[in-house]
Symmetry: C2
């Protein structure tokens, strides 16, 4: 690969200045002519029959333009995966926060006042919060047609687990639990919906999956997808939480009823009550190894709480069942997963998508095995860790792997070997590894890959169109770098268009750590196509053959290597022409048509076998290793994370600063999950649904993270890159709890561990 | 050409329902977050020195965000053609309405109040309104560096005019005057400007020339063009009047100063005072002919009033000098044009662009010649009219011409021959012809032609991008028809994107009757490119060769002609696949990339010789003939147009209903100009600058027009089409005044003729 000018260098996000100065218009800021404000009336009961809803008084309030309930919506069952959604609660509400009615009014105060005027008569019903209890005989049913509250089951098996466990030198067996946590993005869920006279609906919302959302909502509204346009303005974070949600449909129906644009913004409280937090999971794990520490088998049972309807929890539970199996050289694995309806908020994606839950469990178990086998935990991982050019138990083709280097980097930086020897009371050090994907073929089944459009206008301005979504992670900046590198132009001429389903290419969106690899390859292909067209024009203008032309830093010139042949002894080697001039000449030659490059990427993935689930689901697999150091206050149980080391195999880091930022952000979220965050219920109602009671880490809680980028060039990645979004968080929980174990001998099996819990456990163990 | 399904059929405008129901958001309706409202302080004097401007009180008014004057702008001289503009009046105001200062405030009332608080001290100067007076020695100078107030001179000569006139059997010589008239579009000039943190300016405005405007404004603001983005929302009419105007720049500077979006909407009064109305012109004409009525020579002198600065008046005056020379088989022509500064509003384009002025003059003179030679006026035109495959005196290559057929059609429909014989007192019939262009190469010099982008999304939705401008004339509908016809899909899947300089192809815009031919050919080329890609996919899906595939009415199928060869005796001839399905499969095959067709049209035009002005400036030339019947009230002088017949050679009418609408609209405007409209001055100030005093025709004034489309297939047109925008109006004035002559014997030489004037003339002639 030739010298890179842009890729591999750190750039601030292209929208950084706008965001930092408050200039950026988030969905919450958008206005449209004649815009109304929407508000949602939510169920105060975890489970109740709706005896009656009377909207007459609310509708009569001056300034109110529409009041809608289930009766006013197309009463279609729909859902992103499983058709158990309705836009409003039908005859029953199924969780505290469930959507019962909504109002559109000329201002927010009026809408708020109208909510108070809606009269709903509820008959409270028995409810169930824990998925374990929900599975028990006689538990209240969330959906009458789902016995045992079982929403979905998943099984996977490879090798002979029972035999392998029997033959193991050691088997660690235990139960774990991971809590329900909130994505805590800066901007609550929000939407601006409007309908034109043909009935075509335009939705402006911060969504990670504009194209998939469109298909789900088309079903919900009884429309065809081409009659829905989704535009994605800048939005304040997603972390997996900004996929489908009923508020989009409620605003859309309000817009349909009123013929006016309707903006609907969740309050923070509503976002807690009725967003889509992480799937809480109960695990049973058995993990076996030989005397030498070679892993023999893994057997897990996962029970996840779906909440009142399925968003993506069943896919998340299945991911928890087996994704982590490709971290090590497993031969015998088995998993069963149950996704269970509960009278809680519907749960869904949050960074890590099930793999973070199971990585916590596996990496805790690995720590236990190391302890039992008296093998250094780092060594145990090195013995088993998946290397490059290996194929995992589920047929995943690991082209590049920097796992071993990640372990080595963190181990050295943390002075691990020394610290493991020099034990200090209440101080501990812990290590955990992770793997992940860069895209996941079975998620959308018929579709994988990515695409891009690169437009170069008369003035040399480059605009990149993609179908993914920049939720704040910096995807647009990465794409701009890829396009700039390929075209040979400086970053400041490259712009990235907001995703608009009418204009952008189709893309699956930002999840499964797929954006950089899939979208990036699509953008790269488009940039190559545009470059080819420009080089042709430049070669005509420079009067040299096409293959003698290069573009670097915005200047077309003759390659050094071609200069001798072409102009031996002449001074023509100085001939250059600016990118802008070539673009202008191209547009004039083409009578106004800009240069438009179009490209796509077909990944070497496959749909897994439906029976065995075997198949290479992703073109590339990132790995990582994190080490945490903690101090535990013996009097209070307070855990302080004093040092943190993280090394991640990201393939080539397109933007090292952004990559490090992703890693540090992931660790901050993982730290919160480990030590603080838990959405808790009391009498069926969430009792900490706000930032007063639900504490997330602040800058005082997060240590300075020593970050290392391990960059094996991934053959399938754009300029060798893989993804980093999710793996950043996957090992954090176990790294911290393993350090707590090292400090206290207490094995944390339930997230989170707050001071009270740890203090109680320490007292008990004494 | 194969059977056409869409082209040649009448469709309502694609935005018709939205517009008719009030749903459409015009520029005037747009809102943006934190938007401010702008207002302009205008000079109350036609000519004055600005002694001082004190904005302190205005700036101190709560709610005012900026008050700006000349001192706050880049003090750059600029202009679309001649650099005599400044954003505000510098040390002098040069017309009543000239821009002196402007305010941005949180609402319109506050802005209005602030205007009253700006203190300006003026020293009134001598002024000049008439261009004839302005040329006289000692006249006040509008610009100190322009002696004689001469802004521009133009000369053209071919053949030997003096000799030809000498040898003529008859020479008609006279003076004519055409008045200054207002385009009277429904929506006054308006703009919404905003600036991002990088300083990039986005202008949303109804403009006919987004791309050219951008270059002019870049100069004015000291920016580079790529830092200006122009978006063209739906807007309420242009008729030539919505080109560059200082209000766009004023709003832009207000946005720059405040960092907030600024919407600035002219009041109707301001639009009269400081819009850009038609160039009033004084003509001297000599027109010679043989005894048989063969035209021998034409000699004209044109003096046009530019107003206080040049917009396009010098180009309009030059057009008035010679465009009409290609209507007939002239051999000897000469013209001199003078564009003269006056202390009036800057004048510019209005439907017909100088050719309408000179067509009035020539066709009045033709009527006089016919009278003198006792040749039927229709016959006189037939003798001289330009036919197909002829080259005019200025080298214009007339590929198709339906002129003679237009004369025949109207003549027959009006029962002309009979009516010319049966004279009834105070009833008259008049005829006039016209020619025009479909694009004008010298207008932008380096650039002619057109281009398009056609995007076909996963859902089969077609979006057409073009760089022209639909000002309400229905350009978007025409383009949609062209794309639909080419692709073989119904109209309802085709959408046309608003012009956005960031997204659309570069286009010169809507003027010179160029949209349908230039833009249409560009869109057609793009649609062909897209179709080629789709046909390839369809051929794979249908498993037949590419050339056996056709698409009609949204269905890909095997051509009848190919069925025998491919499936002799088989039933596979029924194989079809929907357009939508092919688009979806294409997107899946291309991993998300939509089908994007790009195309352009290179017209067979040339830049005229700088000396002789000879050269083929347009790929096609429309022609037309109109006949008016009038009744004159002998007691009041009131003229009633009782019948109107119009036949226009439009090449193939893509949308007959729209074409007829254009013709009828043109005639209504021409009728207003002939009988009513005149922007008049009193003490240097426009004294009828509103719709109370300036009367335009209402539906009661406009007769039912019998419209005939003459459709010779133009080889250079998309599906054989030429333009119609301007020619619709060109012959109307002379048709009516020739009819008045027929009714009364009074030759109208000054537009308009109101009842008082006609009555006085009738009395005098008795």
């Amino acid at each position: 690969m030739t010298q890179l000018d842009i890729v591999g260098k750190s750039f601030p996000q292209i929208a950084a200045r706008e965001k930092a100065s408050g200039y950026t218009k988030f969905v919450t800021d958008l206005v449209r002519p004649r815009m109304l404000h929407g508000r949602v009336l939510r169920s105060p009961h975890p489970h109740a029959r709706i005896r009656s809803v009377d909207t007459a008084k609310a509708a009569a309030l001056p300034g109110v333009r529409a009041v809608i309930t289930y009766a006013d919506t197309p009463q279609i069952k729909f859902g992103p995966r499983s058709e158990d959604w309705t836009i409003f609660a039908d005859d029953k509400t199924r969780f505290h926060g469930d959507e019962v009615a909504a109002v559109a009014a000329i201002d927010l105060d009026t809408a708020e006042e109208a909510l108070d005027l809606i009269e709903v008569e509820y008959e409270p019903l028995d409810y169930v919060i824990s998925p374990i209890e929900a599975m028990a005989a006689g538990a209240p049913l969330v959906h009458d047609d789902k016995p045992g509250n079982i929403a979905s089951e998943f099984k996977i098996e490879a090798g002979n687990v029972d035999k392998a466990l029997d033959e193991s030198y050691v088997v660690y067996e235990d139960k774990f639990y991971t809590s329900q946590v909130y994505q805590a993005f800066m901007e609550p869920m929000s939407i601006l919906a409007e309908v034109d006279l043909s009935g075509r609906l335009t939705i402006r919302t911060g969504t990670q999956i504009p194209n998939m959302m469109r298909m789900t909502y088309a079903k919900a509204l009884g429309m065809s997808p081409e009659n829905i346009r989704i535009i994605v303005p800048e939005y304040g974070g997603g972390f997996g939480g900004k996929m489908e949600n009923n508020i989009h449909l409620i605003a859309s129906v309000l817009a349909q009823k009123t013929g006016q644009p309707v903006r609907l913004v969740n309050t923070r409280h509503e976002d807690f009550l009725a967003g889509n937090p992480r799937v809480p999971m109960h695990f049973d794990i058995k993990l076996g190894a030989t005397r030498d520490g070679i892993l023999t088998a893994k057997d897990v049972n996962v029970v996840g709480a779906a909440g009142a309807r399925l968003v993506y929890s069943q896919v998340i539970v299945s991911t928890a069942c087996y994704r982590v199996d490709s971290l090590y050289r497993f031969k015998n694995v088995r998993a069963k997963g149950y996704t269970i309806y509960t009278n809680t908020v519907p749960t869904a994606c949050y960074r890590g998508f099930g793999n973070s839950q199971s990585t916590f469990v596996l990496e805790s178990a690995m720590d236990e095995l190391a302890h039992q086998l008296k093998i250094d935990p780092a060594e145990l991982r090195i013995k088993n860790g998946m290397g490059p050019n290996e194929t995992s138990v589920h047929g995943w083709k690991i082209a590049s792997s920097g796992l071993i280097e990640c372990i080595a980097k963190t181990r050295e930086a943390a002075n691990w070997d020394q610290k493991k020897k020099d034990k200090t009371p209440y101080k501990g050090i812990g290590l955990a590894c992770c793997n992940h994907v860069s895209g996941n073929h079975p998620f959308a089944r018929e579709f994988d890959g990515g695409s891009g459009i690169v437009r170069i206008g008369k003035d040399g301005r480059v605009i990149v169109y993609h179908g993914e979504s920049d939720m704040g992670q910096g995807q647009n900046t990465t794409f701009a770098q890829i396009a700039a590198e390929c075209l040979g132009v400086p970053m400041d001429v490259v712009n990235v268009a907001q995703v608009d389903t009418d204009i952008s290419p189709f893309g699956l969106g930002s999840f499964a750590t797929r954006g950089t690899l899939m979208g990036g390859n699509g953008v790269l292909a488009a940039a190559k196509d545009a470059k080819k067209q420009l080089v042709k024009i430049a070669s005509e203008l420079l009067k040299v053959p096409v293959d003698a032309v290069q573009c670097k830093k915005g200047l077309f010139s003759v390659r050094q290597s071609s200069q001798k042949t072409l102009f031996s002894g002449q001074s023509s080697s100085q001939k250059t022409i600016s990118f802008k001039e070539v673009a202008s000449q191209a547009t004039i030659k083409h009578h106004g048509a800009p240069i438009v490059g179009i490209g796509f990427y077909k990944p070497p993935t496959e749909l897994p076998d439906p029976e065995t689930k075997k198949g290479n689901i992703s073109p590339a697999y990132p790995f990582g290793c994190q080490i945490a150091e903690v101090e535990v206050d013996p009097d209070t149980g307070q855990v302080t994370v004093t040092n943190f080391y993280a090394a991640h195999d990201v393939g080539r880091a397109i933007n090292p600063m952004a990559t490090e930022g992703q890693i540090q952000g992931g660790i901050a979220q993982g730290l919160g999950w480990t030590l603080m965050e838990d959405m808790t219920y009391e009498n069926g109602k969430m009792n900490n649904a706000d930032f007063v009671d639900y504490i997330v880490p602040s800058c005082f809680d997060v240590p300075d993270v020593k970050t290392f980028l391990v960059e094996p060039i991934e053959p399938n990645g754009p300029y060798g890159a893989k993804g980093i979004g999710e793996p950043a968080l996957n090992p954090t929980m176990a790294a911290i709890t393993n350090a707590i174990y090292d400090a206290t001998g207490i094995r944390i099996k339930k997230l989170p561990v707050n001071p009270q819990k740890l203090l109680a456990a320490m007292k008990q163990s004494k």
